[in-house]
């Protein structure tokens, strides 16, 4: 015990100035550290290995962006922990186990009632990815007649069910993006309706697994980071994203990770 005492004293001496050095630490769950929720894989946005609930070595657009935001908040990259939160549980009301979530979540009025959204960091439309055997739909009316894969709780599924009003017998719902991509690959359905950047990146990575990205449906969606309703961190994250948009960082990151000319994909009407 005697030998420990000087150590404890030294630690106390060290700890005091460290704590007082940054008086305005951002209001994160664990002070000085940042917990970011992901749900990989979404090629381009985020890929990583899952170890239990943590994501190991994630890379992608959203990872780089989260690191930049952390830097703006004054949190070093080593203090960021990445956890996996399934997308279909993201909009559950109540407390969140993360500071913010990057899961390509479209900002909608309904979702805004149960969670906070940051300022948008990405613009997207819905894309239609074909299976290898399906013929491309020429119009939305064609699309309605096809069998459609979609992911639970996504704006893509919402579009298919409520705007396109496809018959429920021809809509196949999967709880994860990867299950829906597998289903499309093995021919469970003709098309997968999902955000353009996600399907276009996936097609680019595994070109022989799917047919073409046959079209896009203009929905003018914007992705925002998801935070707990009323989170004190929301203004800080929004300010960081706005600053990163203005200084061109986000545009640079988009070019680095995607580099897909979305305007070449025909618009379905």
């Amino acid at each position: 015990m005697k030998r420990l005492l000087p150590l404890v004293a030294a630690a106390a001496l060290l700890a005091v100035p460290a704590a007082s050095a940054r008086p305005a630490a951002p209001p994160t769950l664990k002070p000085g550290a940042l917990t970011v929720a992901l749900n990989p894989p979404a090629v381009g946005f985020q890929v990583g290995t899952l170890r239990g609930n943590t994501v190991v070595n994630p890379t992608g657009f959203e990872i780089d962006l989260a690191r930049d935001i952390a830097a703006k908040l004054g949190i070093p990259a080593a203090k960021i922990s990445w956890i996996n939160v399934p997308f279909d549980t993201l909009f559950r009301p109540g407390a969140k186990p993360f500071d913010f979530a990057f899961e390509e979540a479209t900002i909608t009025a309904a979702r805004s009632r149960v969670v906070d959204f940051s300022a948008p960091y990405f613009n997207a439309n819905q894309g239609v990815l074909l299976s290898k055997t399906a013929t491309a739909p020429k119009s939305l009316a064609d699309l309605k007649k096809m069998s459609i894969c979609a992911q639970s709780a996504t704006t893509g599924l919402d579009y298919v069910q409520h705007k396109l009003q496809a018959p429920s017998s021809s809509v196949h719902i999967y709880t994860s993006t990867s299950a829906a991509f597998t289903a499309l690959q093995v021919g469970r359905c003709d098309v997968f309706v999902m955000d353009v950047p996600i399907v276009a990146s996936q097609k680019k990575t595994k070109p022989s697994a799917y047919g073409a990205v046959a079209g896009q449906i203009v929905t003018n969606e914007q992705y925002g980071a998801v935070l707990a309703k009323g989170s004190k961190l929301t203004p800080d994250v929004s300010a960081a994203i706005k600053a990163l948009t203005t200084d061109g960082t986000i545009a640079k990151l988009q070019k680095k990770w995607f580099n897909i000319d979305v305007s070449k994909i025909p618009v379905l009407k």
């Binding site: 309904a110 719902i173 999967y174 709880t175 469970r188």
Partner: protein
């Protein structure tokens, strides 16, 4: 309390979610009926194979034991993913064109056959060996003794546990909903994700319970009838 009621048993949401969940529930019932019919037949066959006597039948018995051991211990979710997403990937046209629902029934059948085989086996083994010997000594062949003496008694004894597994099967059809079959639980999840209200799950639960309660009472009745009959015979 009010918030709890609003989130889980809201009357307005109940009515709103009802039609979708009901249309999904019909798929559950459909899958259950087909799977149960298949299970009852296949499990009986495997149970009989497992009970075959003699050294010559040893490999067959081994296969039956391996099957029940493996699939009784495998989670249904895994079998379902393999059947629904894995099998069509093999590229055979008849598998590729099979609906997710049909492949889900295949998964349910595979897993529940393993359970029900054990139920049948318990029934067959509960018939005293003297019954079989008496039948053989009357000149019945092995199969005849099984068919006319052992099985009628065995099956009558295991009807209650069979119905119990039937209820389990019915509930487990909901697992198939996670893999592209839009049944009641998937519809409820979808409702919850669209409106952030969980009453849809309650609606689905009510449907399932409405189906299982009559089954449970029916089982109780069967047990009571058998008890009455056996007691009367004993006097």
């Amino acid at each position: 309390m009010h918030r709890f009621l609003h989130a889980f048993v809201d009357p307005f949401a109940f009515r709103q979610a009802l039609p979708d969940v009901w249309s999904g529930f019909l798929i559950n019932v459909h899958m259950m009926l087909i799977a149960e019919a298949l299970v009852l037949v296949l499990a009986l066959l495997i149970a009989i194979v497992r009970g075959l006597p003699g050294r010559g039948a040893k490999p067959l018995r081994g296969l039956a034991i391996a099957y029940t051991d493996f699939f009784r211990g495998t989670p249904l979710t895994i079998v379902a993913y393999v059947c629904i997403l894995g099998l069509p990937g093999l590229g055979y046209p008849f598998l590729k064109n099979a609906s997710s629902e049909a492949l889900g029934v295949v998964a349910l059948t595979i897993v529940y056959t393993a359970y029900v085989t054990e139920v049948y086996r318990a029934g067959i083994e509960s018939v005293h060996g003297s019954q079989r010997m008496a039948a053989r000594s009357l000149g019945l062949t092995y199969m005849q003794a099984l068919r006319y003496v052992v099985l009628p008694q065995a099956i009558r004894r295991v009807v209650p546990p069979l119905l119990n597994d039937f209820i389990g099967l019915q509930k487990d059809t909901a697992i198939i909903g996670a893999i592209g079959v839009t049944e009641a639980a998937a519809q409820a999840t979808n409702y919850a994700n669209s409106y952030f209200n969980y009453t849809g799950y309650f609606v689905a639960a009510v449907f399932f319970v409405y189906l299982t309660i009559p089954l449970a009472r029916f089982t109780d009745n069967l047990i009571r009838q058998r008890e009455l009959r056996e007691r009367a015979a004993g006097i």
